[in-house]
Symmetry: C2
Subunit: 364 residues, 2 copies
Amino acid sequence: MAEAELSKLGHDVRGRASAETLSAFVESVLRAAGTETGHARSVASALTEASLRGVDSHGVRLAVHYAKVVRTGRINPNPQLKVDRTGPGTAILDADNGFGHHASFAAIDEGVALAAETGIAAVSVINSSHFGAAGCYSLRAAASGYVGFAFANSDSFVLAHDSVEPFHGTNPISFAAPVAGERPFLLDMATSTVPWNRVQDMMAKGLTLPNDVAVDSSGAITRQPAEAAALLPIGGLHFGFKGAALASMLEILSAVMTGSPHCTELLGMVGPDWSTPRRLGHFFIVIDPARFVPRPLYDAAMAAYLADIRAARARPGTSVMAPGDREWKVERERSANGIPVAEALAIAFDNLAAELAVPPLAYL
Amino acid sequence: MAEAELSKLGHDVRGRASAETLSAFVESVLRAAGTETGHARSVASALTEASLRGVDSHGVRLAVHYAKVVRTGRINPNPQLKVDRTGPGTAILDADNGFGHHASFAAIDEGVALAAETGIAAVSVINSSHFGAAGCYSLRAAASGYVGFAFANSDSFVLAHDSVEPFHGTNPISFAAPVAGERPFLLDMATSTVPWNRVQDMMAKGLTLPNDVAVDSSGAITRQPAEAAALLPIGGLHFGFKGAALASMLEILSAVMTGSPHCTELLGMVGPDWSTPRRLGHFFIVIDPARFVPRPLYDAAMAAYLADIRAARARPGTSVMAPGDREWKVERERSANGIPVAEALAIAFDNLAAELAVPPLAYL
């Protein structure tokens, strides 16, 4: 379930830009910063699709960060990807310290190619970097008619259960599955209750945090964003052993299984070291559902399940949605009306355009 | 993270029995009820290992239920398992309406055999029944040196996010991975915050529920066990979209992908129909970690990660544990001292022994 940050949209929006325009702008910025065209295009595509779905935390705003890290030397702007097939259903993709997005799309494509033969495949990515929204990659599998899992870790922001200081990252898990005649089923979630940038956003707006989502530097729950020193895993103080266990699973899949650094070993995404590659690992699984149930039965069963969940009796003032429904609703709205760009981000885009001598973003 | 219900152990315990004695008793009961020996042994083994780990909700107490459903005709006592290999890395195992435990162990063994060739395998189980603790099967993969996932659904007890009535089951997910020189890493959790039998147990003890774990029949949060009509997914009222999304993923894997009934279509585990097979589906994934990282590096990375999590600065009065640590601690204690049997369960065992003319359970 993506953190669709719809609440932000009313605040200080410069204007809306079409997905095509935004994607072209991001691509031009990254190319001007030295990134090879195909890689720049993959990043732009991943960020734009996340923004379209309302996942603004992992949307086009990240272009500012990426334009920085490709220039500070952390990211190899022209990586040579290398695929090592280690079994009929397995491969390791070396991202050569380039952007994680291009490598991860390539990993899914490799997984689909393998799973077309074996029925299921797993592809790890090594020597990678931040890959944006995990959902981009599970969805890439679903777009090919396959079920996809995407697993990743990140640097420390979240308590381990019963710890009082950051340990795990907000480690995301994503799962997508094709739905006949509709956009795919999509689970795309961090294993913390809220993302770190939600805390920052609430601080900027002078808001109080929900209970049981963040702790201060002593490990006590705080509702003051300025005091927040770490996030709680899903389940909060008392039941966070569940969210923490999921975060651990993601460390094993994306770090231990790939020979990459785990949470506390990772260099921070936001420095202080901006030049050393972070050597992130990711892990993807791709499954052909037709090996388990004939496609017409799969389609009918999926439709029946989704119909049932959407028909569940709802809390007053709400409707019960299937995972992904919220994102696809935002996608429809933003495809029609453009993607809103916050004023702060618009200023950062203006500065980037000037620094890199590319045409500024055009608004609708 | 299993729901180790350690708090119960001080209450009304008849005595302790050794794991071997308990397993033999459960096997003898199920055989006397008509179950074929190998299947009875698999059930006994799964229940006893869950009890050893402290997962009493899915331990030997279930023998009473299983002895009932094999006699009421829901369970086929002498099923003929059939494996259909549908690809180099995929298979469907038809459980022929027998106990889910034997079929699920067989599915993991099939998955290990396939993954030995392909590097990764998925095996679905169809026409199955309740399989006990999901962790039994991921651990079976880990015992062979593989990483294992186990996925299942169950009948409705848990709200969908924003719904006010039960929709999903407590749908469990398990993940296990080998650890050199130690018991495996183990995630084994329901996607509700607490299990339903925790609510019943707290009612029996006159206790108040934690906040944000259950709702009454109007969908409002209640702390009175007697008023609880449904459980909340992990994340509770406000962030339960994460737990509910995980529950949805488990429906897709174990029901949609296997052509089996989903949550609201399932016959209830506790009736009213006790004779019709429930046609449960399960889904398992088995991965060979050596296809991704040389085993010595995997072992070193796992050891480093686990050492880091266990060394994390702990909340006063606690220690930070890795997933599984609590279960293996209980296993050590119970292996040495026996498994405690509550008085209520001991009476049920006495009755079963008398009805089925098997020797009663011997206590230490």
